[in-house]
Symmetry: C2
């Protein structure tokens, strides 16, 4: 897989969270739905998520501009899943919104 | 655990990577060293990392300003470990630098 490379001026939404042990199947289904829901919003650039066995997870989404990031915040399914997250899945989270100044990438050269 | 909450104006360094299966023990040791090395730099605010079983990982560090983020980029141990990463551990990565505009957090209320 390769990550989307955000252009300068893109808006990054960083979601750092600590999961508890509740409702693993419901959580997994919702996480997959959220990735698809994000990708359907105009101005979507990319979404990447990772969670380790310690329960700490990070999701990064990149958006063309602030309006697109706000559309993601206000998306109805996303709002509903946020409510579920506070009711069930998360013990703690931090959301940061940041504007990209630069980005670069590296790929392993073919052998 | 609780995440550091970056103030507006902080600099976020986002490292998205795809690990291969090479040298798991060397990688784990270096990852722990990098977190400690970052925390020793003036202007460090916080560091969080997660990697899932699919090999996709995200590390987010927050810095008080651009100078602190550049000091992290130029830190000697960090530069050495980046070289190892390209030589051995990673198949692909993307680094983004972004300036925080706002952040908020949530904690589960006591039962």
């Amino acid at each position: 897989m390769r990550f989307a490379i955000p252009p300068a001026g893109a808006v990054a939404v960083l979601f750092l969270s600590v999961r508890n042990a509740m409702d693993a199947s419901g959580y997994s289904a919702a996480a997959a739905q959220m990735e698809a829901a994000a990708a359907s919003i105009p101005g979507f650039i990319g979404f990447t998520a990772a969670r380790g066995s310690d329960g700490v997870g990070i999701a990064v989404s990149y958006w063309a501009d602030e309006a697109a990031a706000l559309a993601w915040r206000d998306q109805a399914d996303h709002a509903r899943v946020r409510d579920q997250g506070r009711a069930i899945w998360y013990d703690h989270y931090c959301v940061s919104i940041a504007q990209v100044t630069r980005a670069y990438h590296w790929d392993r050269p073919p052998e």
